[in-house]
């Protein structure tokens, strides 16, 4: 697409600062996200992990009193550029939330929601089936596609939300603590799914759970008090952190 120096990275931030009213939530963040990898953002509560994640699909704009400085680049293009349409950003960059958020519609209509609004209604049934299969949910729901999605279990609902995001075939999938509201078994299934999905998608995941981060992520970024402390290959981060604040967090001394 854009042939410049940044084509190794799909998402980048350049001196990103963010304020909620008077409070500064992100300070001078420079982070590069590699394609087709899982990048985990870790850090204690309130460190700005979710805020940073939400800069990548401009969800922060929905809150009043937000001010953003700096750049977020997607394939080298400024996501916040004046010619960029926010709905297109979110079409290319999908998101899964902490709590499952099925719409009170049928399973089928939940997955078909994105394709319908973006006019991708050709072969809709196939698209829905493909997405549900990628989300490892198809076998469990194929006989009740037209039942209300609120009847699914929590874990199934979360995989449905993943399928709903995948139905738009996004390049990037942002996941905001996607397993924290699930029981361990359901969480395990979602985790397994994340590992499988990285063949096809770039995944950025915010997690509270260090073990989970270690299991799924290729790259890990550690955030503290709105600052990026360090980023690197997960194995190095967990075994030989460069910064002693990272070490303190990973060994459980705070957070």
């Amino acid at each position: 697409m854009m042939a410049n120096t940044s084509d190794r990275f799909i998402l980048q931030t350049r001196n990103l600062n963010l304020w909620y009213g008077e409070r500064k939530a992100l300070a001078n963040i420079n982070i590069d996200i590699q394609p087709q990898r899982v990048t985990a953002i870790i850090g204690p509560s309130g460190c700005g992990k979710s805020t940073l994640l939400r800069c990548f699909n401009r969800m922060n704009e929905l809150l009043p009193g937000i001010r953003i400085e700096g750049q977020v680049l997607y394939n080298g293009e400024d996501l916040y550029g004046s010619n960029v349409d926010v709905t297109e950003v979110r079409y290319r960059i999908g998101m899964v939330f902490q709590k499952p958020t099925p719409f009170p519609k049928s399973i089928f209509e939940n997955v078909a929601f994105g394709p319908r609004i973006h006019g991708l209604t050709e072969n809709l049934a196939e698209r829905v089936e493909r997405s549900l299969q990628q989300a490892a949910l198809w076998d469990e729901v194929k006989d009740r596609l037209h039942h209300n999605a609120l009847g699914l279990s929590g874990g199934q609902q979360q995989r449905l939300c993943i399928a709903r995001a995948l139905a738009l075939e996004p390049e990037v999938l942002l996941m905001d603590e996607p397993t924290s509201a699930l029981d361990p078994v359901a969480a395990g299934k979602v985790e397994e799914l994340i590992v499988n999905l990285k063949k096809r998608y770039t995944i950025v995941i915010v997690t509270h759970n260090l073990q989970q981060g270690a299991r799924v992520a290729d790259t890990t970024a550690f955030l503290l008090g709105g600052e990026l402390v360090e980023i690197g290959p997960t194995s190095e981060m967990y075994t030989r952190p460069r910064d002693n604040r990272t070490e303190a967090y990973i060994t459980g001394r705070f957070g």
């Binding site: 297109e88 939330f97 958020t101 719409f103 929601f113 994105g114 609004i117």
Partner: protein
Amino acid sequence: MEKHETTRVSKALVKGVPLDGKGNGVHHESPPLGNTKPRPAEAPVRGLLFLSALVSVMTTIGIVLVLATEAVSFFKTVSVFDFLTGTKWTPLFEPKSFGIMPLLAGTLLVALGASLVAIPIGLASAIYLSEYSSHRVRSWVKPVLEVLAGVPTVVYGYFALTFITPILRRVFPEMSIFNAASASIAMGIMILPMVSSLSEDAMRAVPRSLREAAYALGSTRYEVASRVVVPAAASGITASFILAVSRAIGETMIVAIAAGATPKLTLNPLESIQTMTAYIVQVSLGDAPYGTIEYKTIFAVGLLLFLMTLGMNILGQWVTRRYREVYR
């Protein structure tokens, strides 16, 4: 000082010594239980409170009894069938005829007209207030709508007769001075805040996470509102419509002032009509002698009015309860 106090107290506690309230331990035998000063018994108070709560139940029973006894006496003269199916309503002059259809038609015509004004505008403004408006706009629009809801109905009646009718008559010169259309519009404005605020409540009950999920899929604001929020709030919105229509059916002064006193089986809003409520007012202004058949018509018409609005209110509450269950 404070620290000193604490240590003394904790020492006393450690020793198991009772305290005298000044932080000093005192040594005395604690009295056995059951020795406290007797206090006013709760039972009479409770009984009084219960009786007060019963007043509202007695009110309903009173309404039903009053309406039913006089209506039964009315239906000894006029058969229920003739009452409900008759198409002529002339109880106040000869030949007397007691068919409720013209009054019912007038009532429904005005309620329908009011709904045509209040439902689309009320729903649209509810969407605006819940999904689009900034906090600042909301904080001054909502009180304005509350004021609109608090304007006495006699004022709306005056407004319909002296402001809306003259304007409409410029467009439709053949329109009568008293007509269903003006009353409908004024009544629509009156029930608009009800539709708007109840619908908005229902939309605000939709969790923010659902909106975010829809935005995260690249929806525009209109798509979030129309495809996620409104469907998710559908039963609450429906309930607001039902309750507003019920309110329109029971509303009296606007129609008594502006819609006329001509019981007529018509769908033409430009004509003068009469509603059930306006008829009741007409009879009671005319001072129908106690015990006559004219007097009793008030109760028969009132009973039908009561049953219609009660039915709609129960339906509205039932629908509301259903939407509450979705997001527990």
